[in-house]
Subunit: 303 residues, 2 copies
């Protein structure tokens, strides 16, 4: 059997349980960041790694500054998902020897710009040759206060489901210049009890079932309420992916205050209630966790 | 200009100074690990990333368990170089979809074995497709006590230079099963003042000039004293690389006690005094920091 037949999520499911743990680990692989003890009594340590592969995630036709920005902004978005603060980054660049120095310099300019925008220091770098496509792998280290970290698992039945920004059409350009929702996420956990949160990277249709499954709840969505990017259909908003918006759950009682305070704080970023968690459906959704551009079976709940 | 014309060390020299820093960084790129503040008053936080690329660092003919072991052991060796304790690892695996599941499982078995041997938890994983050669990228996070960390920069004129183990011939097999010298390194800093230390990855001929340059000293070596692996020539011991032994500097007054205590503690690991730091030679060694299998100009000092 080869990896195409297995699929990425199932591959990781098979590999990760057998990997070693230690008592310092609070949350290992499977959520947006790993959470481990930091030795600092008030804080937890967050770790995240993410990579871009040429011809899969980017092409040489794209502006290298934008590719560098995206390589750094993607793991920052995972920090936003946990309400964490990124502090340090390590960058591995694997490229053919024939690569132009100018391309690499522009790539690093984008990496540096994204890091600087969030106060992050790039503390290590490695370069290696390859005979194949270029790879940019970024690891980010940071922290979150013990009382403020949000996993995917804390959602409760009846929680309202919110999404920031607008969805769909990211591949027309926004995926290369999005701003990770760290400021929004930090504000949310400073002012409200957020029960569960994640960032939307594979599209609402793939990611919302993951959030619900991690929280052991079901969900219902009003698709007419989805905040669409200009020119996008509902279907695109659900399945395009790479939105890098926050998807989160909060108690209904906090909903009205959240909306009024959000509009004052972030007047240019829509915040939309798109649905509600409910008791878990008894209908099996065995393929709902697949990483796929197709809509998972969970999509039945969107209708 | 392309990367072949620039060379890896010079590329990083060009890229890294322009990357953002922040006040939490104690030592950024350029040493074996990055050293940053941890929030814990007694400890510093260490970060290291390292990658293996197919056809450059390994081939599909090698046992996947051994490739996995090496992928994890290499960054552990950088922790040994700083007398650090690795705690957490993130593993990124980039492979073609046609890769056999069995190969990946064996690779992870080797990764897990190495992590377990050093009490390290694998807290995150990512897999991605590629159309090209496989890549395994590992990031390790850990700590070192404030009084015990050793950089490359603390060597003093007249310090004795020691090397652990034996050198040369690693590519005949040892590079796939070496044991990072973490126990030895931790014992060294618990019992002695180690002035400067690094691990030998590119060979003594390339690495010793780096250690001396970081410490702003010169060096002289007695090549007849180099501890050779069976069947190796002096030249191979100097230039083969991938020894993953410790190279360190200590005050002459501590030398005798170090050797006698070492022999009792690590009877199966040779410890050899191979030379001494001296005043920096006035002869320019402009290419001594190249990452290259050729002997650098610094080799003049070996004769």
């Amino acid at each position: 059997m080869n990896l195409r037949e297995v699929g990425e999520d199932r591959l990781l499911e098979q590999l990760l349980p057998s990997l070693p743990h230690n008592p310092e680990v609070i949350l290992g692989a499977g959520d947006d960041c790993a959470v481990v003890k930091s030795g600092n009594s008030g804080k937890l340590h967050l770790l995240k790694t993410d990579c871009l592969v040429e011809e899969i995630h980017f092409t040489k036709k794209m502006r290298p500054e934008s590719v560098g920005w995206k390589a750094m902004a993607r793991p920052f978005s995972d920090f936003a998902a946990m309400s964490g603060v990124p502090q340090f980054a390590l960058v591995t660049l694997i490229v053919p020897s024939r690569t132009a120095l100018a391309w690499v310099k522009k790539l690093y300019r984008g990496i540096g710009k994204a890091a600087r925008a969030f106060g992050v220091a790039v503390v290590g770098g490695e370069t290696s040759r390859t005979e194949g496509p270029a790879v940019i792998s970024v690891t980010v280290s940071g922290f979150v206060e013990k009382g403020r970290w949000v996993s995917r698992a804390g959602g409760k039945v009846n929680d309202y489901i919110f999404v920031t920004g607008r969805l769909g059409g990211s591949l027309r350009g926004r995926h290369l210049k999005f701003v990770p929702r760290i400021a929004e996420s930090r504000w949310l956990t400073q002012n409200f009890q957020i029960h569960a949160m994640m960032d939307l990277s594979d599209g609402l249709g793939a990611d919302l079932p993951r959030l619900a499954r991690a929280s052991d709840v079901g969900f219902e969505i009003d698709v007419q309420k989805l905040p669409l990017n200009p020119g996008c259909t509902i279907r695109e908003a659900i399945s395009d992916g790479e939105d890098y918006e926050l998807l989160f759950a909060i108690a209904p009682k906090d909903s009205r205050l959240l909306l009024s305070r959000w509009r004052k704080k972030f007047p240019n970023v829509p915040l939309t209630r798109i649905g509600q968690f409910n008791r878990k459906s008894r209908i099996a959704r065995p393929r709902a966790d697949r990483k796929s551009k197709e809509l998972p079976h969970g999509y039945a709940h969107f209708r």
